[in-house]
Amino acid sequence: MPQTITLSINGQRTSHEVEPRLLLIHYLREVVGLTGSHIGCETSLCGACTVEVNGKAVKSCTMFAVQADGAHVLTVEGLADASGKMAAIQEAFWNEHGLQCGFCTPGMMIAARQIIERNPHPSDQEIREGLDGNLCRCTGYQHIVNAVRAAAKAAGA
């Protein structure tokens, strides 16, 4: 039985009728049309689908859309401000070459936001541990660590 869900995505109220088995990532990508979050494994191991649900980083392949009913969801598309000015974390990934193919990047940036939110001055080791749920095959992580450190510094400045 389809159910109606209403949620806020990147600050916009959205309502759809969805099948109970529809994953949140498929809802975001295919129903709402926000394709910035990616699917790298469907088993909650790679982190490419990471979004924020009510302020917490969540792998959106492990959650049904109906479970997000009433929630506030933030995706990569919502990081920049209304004028299109990029968020500090986006600028940092860009400046530090924190991405190559870009597929893991939206999830990485959401995870990075949470690291900085929980710990405004993370050490490199804390950044690496914070990124444990997100896989990247291109960068060897070094530039990602640089990016998260730079974003934390920018936020503290």
């Binding site: 990508r29 394709t35 860009w94 070459h97 193919c101 095959r137 291109c138 070094q142 990602i144």
Partner: protein
């Protein structure tokens, strides 16, 4: 951190942040799964759970009536589609016909047997579950050495010995070298199966436009043009009726340097149903059905004189090919043979390859492709020789290097190393790490009972693939550069970058040559209806070959711009530089914008000149390039747990001229991560029944942020004489250099326990067993 640039700065050589990034960091890039079309359906593929079986029957009746199902096809329906091709020819090579869906027999776990097309991906998966396949399960063989044993189950019944090919190569006088040698060391060295694991799995969208008889294929590939040629032939279409688009591609590492059954299958479905169709590979399918890398069992023999001089190398490679030959499968171990002397002055070599069928997914090119195996082998053997002769591993390498004055150097394997100073690079690394102090520190650590290791590897690689006669599909690359009527510059490249950053580096080259800002240049790629024919991105060739084609097209354009400039200035003595033509007599100038407008307005033309400002070049490289370097790893092994800690990682690489240090750093870091992944964690393990037991991220240990060391990187710079940019290529260097450095470091740590060699991956369990002497 990126550098801020001002307009008049030269662009090449700067740490310029990438121009492709804004779309990637705002979530607006278009990967295959982001492509949608009206009426688009989804395909789900039914795959064999068995590694070897006869198909008795397939019952599709319950799927055909299932909700939302448009069509169901099996191997009988697709039998007329051409086989998945292998592009390699070797004498006597046995090429099994590779149907896009199995017809009466399956050859590996994951082999596609049927496909369901439905309204959405959930309904397609539901219906796929309703297909019943009756299998007659057969004995399988998943290990290449076991496959060669008498009485092994035949993968292909027509070839009961499981041998796809044998290949031998010799140089110098190997028998004499081994007869005269003071010492011979031997070792069996494996290079395990690896799963490339691009973060984006494969995916295809196919759309048939019946009225135009054109097929549009979006596919996640490194080789859009080659894929178009091959898929058109498989589907019986004229090549110019197929448009192939590689949209944003989420990593490849060789796994997308191929043409796969599913690409042709989606074309078939689109043509048969008239509806656009999408297939996105699941991660499980990616493990089971996208090519794997490596899969070597090597037997090395190194002959040397008592002073450490290497006089001969013998190598026997047993290459696990898998059940089929994909595009380049049999060629990969031949690259290992070419690279087998490494950077050493070994004049006498002999190599034998036996390519073996197994009931596994095929192996093919994975980052480094043949060269990591060879480098790991020779670098392990040199350490084993050093241990045998009680020599220092750095000293024995310095003793055997091809000297700076010997370059260009013809190798015993038929290559011609271009340029370099191999000793200088190793010496730089030794100085940076303070090698003498380090060995002292190690002696103290050992005295305390600690297991500290220092591992050195020096590597050479064959890059910028490559001269056409030495490659299966042509090794040139193409570029078109257009100066638009407004003076803006568009570059069309035949390479197909998917993370390597050529939208930035090629714009740097064009900006400098034409004297325009980087934002005045747009680099396009990956669409066969926009770009002239090209070869693609692999083998560290993007900039060294593709960038050179851009460079030469720019030279043609500059000549034409100068002609128009001379006409506009009414002078016969003009120079084009920094975006304008200057009359050398009067000092009068005319800008590139004015010249471009005049070239298209074409009121008057210079003699023998056509209107417009467009140049196309297809550049054939005269040689490969040969980057090289030295990596040093300091490690420590925990006696209690077998865990390895990397204390320091130093990489000194010589990749020729560096166009963008920021991008180069990223390429090296990523390469090192993949090399350490092989050395320490990753292993595609098949059990004896042919099941891939490390077939998910839960079981296949990809490097994570916290498992990677900080990589200290430095360079020496020897420009390549092979191309005018002086670049050598950087995509694979880190992978090739890191694996043996890591293993040498751990073997060195365990040397006091009498350990001489350890096969990869160096898992804590394996190390703990060695340290504790436990076979429990």
């Amino acid at each position: 951190m990126a550098t801020t640039i001002t307009k008049l700065d030269k662009l090449v050589g700067k740490r310029i942040r990438r121009r492709e990034d804004p779309r990637l960091i705002t979530g607006t890039a278009t990967y295959v799964d982001d492509v949608t079309m009206p009426g688009m359906h989804y395909a789900a593929i039914v795959r064999s759970p068995h590694a070897a079986a006869k198909i008795r029957s397939i019952d599709t009746s319950k799927a055909i009536g299932a909700p939302g199902v448009l069509a169901v096809y099996t191997g009988k329906d697709t039998a007329q589609v051409g086989g998945v091709p292998c592009g390699v020819d070797l004498p006597g090579l046995r090429k099994p016909h590779h149907n896009i869906l199995a017809i009466d027999r399956v050859y590996f776990s994951g082999h596609p047997v049927a496909v369901v097309v439905a309204r959405d991906r959930y309904l397609a998966a539901d219906a796929a579950d309703r297909i019943e396949v009756d299998y007659d399960v057969l004995p399988a063989v998943a290990d290449p050495e076991k496959a060669l044993a008498p009485g092994a189950p035949p993968v292909h019944p027509e070839w009961p010995d499981n041998v796809a090919f044998t290949f031998s190569q010799s140089g110098g006088d190997i028998d004499k070298a081994f007869k005269e040698a003071d010492v011979i060391v031997r070792q069996r060295i494996t290079s395990q199966r690896l799963v490339p694991c691009a973060m984006e799995t494969r995916g295809v969208v196919a759309e048939w436009r019946k009225a135009d008889r054109t097929l549009n294929i979006y596919t996640s590939t490194q080789i859009p043009h080659l894929a178009r040629t091959i898929l058109a032939a498989m589907l019986g279409l004229e090549e110019n009726r197929v448009r192939l688009i590689a949209p944003e591609v989420g990593g490849g590492f060789g796994s997308k340097l191929n043409v796969y059954a599913e690409e042709a299958l989606m074309g078939f479905i689109a043509m048969r149903t008239g509806q656009p169709v999408k297939w996105i590979e699941s991660r499980r399918e990616n493990f089971l059905c996208t090519i794997h890398g490596r899969g070597h069992v090597d037997h090395y023999e190194l002959a040397a004189m008592r002073d450490g001089t290497i006089v001969g190398i013998k190598l026997k490679i047993i290459q696990d090919l898998g059940a089929y030959l994909q595009l380049l499968t049999p060629a990969i171990p031949t690259l290992s043979v070419l690279m087998m002397p490494g950077l050493y002055n070994a004049r006498n070599i002999h190599a034998d390859i036996v390519g073996v069928f197994t009931n596994c997914v095929p192996t093919d090119a994975y980052r480094g492709a043949g060269r990591p195996e060879a480098t790991h082998g020779i670098e392990r053997m040199v350490d084993i020789l050093a241990a045998e002769l009680k020599m220092d591993p750095a000293e024995i390498r310095l003793k055997n290097f091809v000297g700076k004055d010997q370059l260009p150097f013809p190798t015993a394997t038929g290559l011609n190393y271009d340029s370099g100073d191999y000793a200088a690079t190793l010496n730089k690394a030794l100085e940076m790490i303070d090698y003498k102090a380090l060995r002292k520190e190690q002696a103290e650590a050992r005295a305390q009972g600690r297991l500290m290791g220092v591992g050195i590897s020096t590597y050479g690689e064959i890059c910028a693939m490559g001269p056409s006669p030495a490659t299966p599909a042509g090794g040139w690359e193409s570029a078109t550069v257009k100066i638009e009527p407004s003076g803006k510059v568009t570059v069309l490249t035949g390479v197909s970058p998917h993370g390597q950053g050529e939208e930035t580096t090629f714009a740097q080259i064009a900006g400098d040559e034409l004297g325009v800002g980087i934002d005045d240049v747009l680099v396009l790629h990956g669409d066969t209806s926009i770009v002239q024919y090209g070869i693609g991105t692999f083998g560290s060739r993007g900039t060294a070959v593709g960038g050179t084609a851009v460079y030469y097209a720019l030279q043609d354009l500059k000549a034409k711009v100068t002609k128009f400039g001379a006409m506009l200035l009414q002078s016969d003595d003009v120079t084009f530089s920094d975006g304008q033509c200057i009359d050398n007599k009067t000092g009068k100038t005319v800008s590139l914008q004015q010249i471009a407008a005049a070239a298209y307005r074409a009121m008057t033309l210079p003699p023998d000149t056509e209107p417009g400002l467009v140049a196309t070049r297809f550049w054939e490289p005269p040689n490969f390039t040969y980057p090289f370097g030295a990596h040093i790893v300091i490690s420590e092994v925990d006696r209690e747990t077998g865990e390895i800690t990397i204390k320091r990682y130093l990489a000194v690489d010589d990749i020729g001229n560096i166009l963008n240090p920021l991008i180069v750093d990223g390429q090296l870091h990523g390469g090192v991560a993949q090399g350490l992944g092989q050395a320490l964690w990753e292993h595609g393990i098949y059990d004896d029944s042919g099941q891939l037991v490390s077939g998910e991220f839960m079981d296949y240990a990809l490097p994570k942020a916290r498992s990677m060391p900080w990589i200290e990187s430095a360079h020496t710079t020897t420009p390549s004489p092979v191309n005018p940019l002086g670049v050598k290529g950087v995509g694979e260097a880190g992978t090739i250099g890191s694996t043996p450095a890591m293993v040498n470091s751990v073997v060195d740590a365990l040397a006091p326990l009498g350990v001489r060699h350890i096969d990869m991956p160096l898992t804590p369990e394996k190390i703990w067993r060695l340290v504790s002497g436990s076979n429990a």
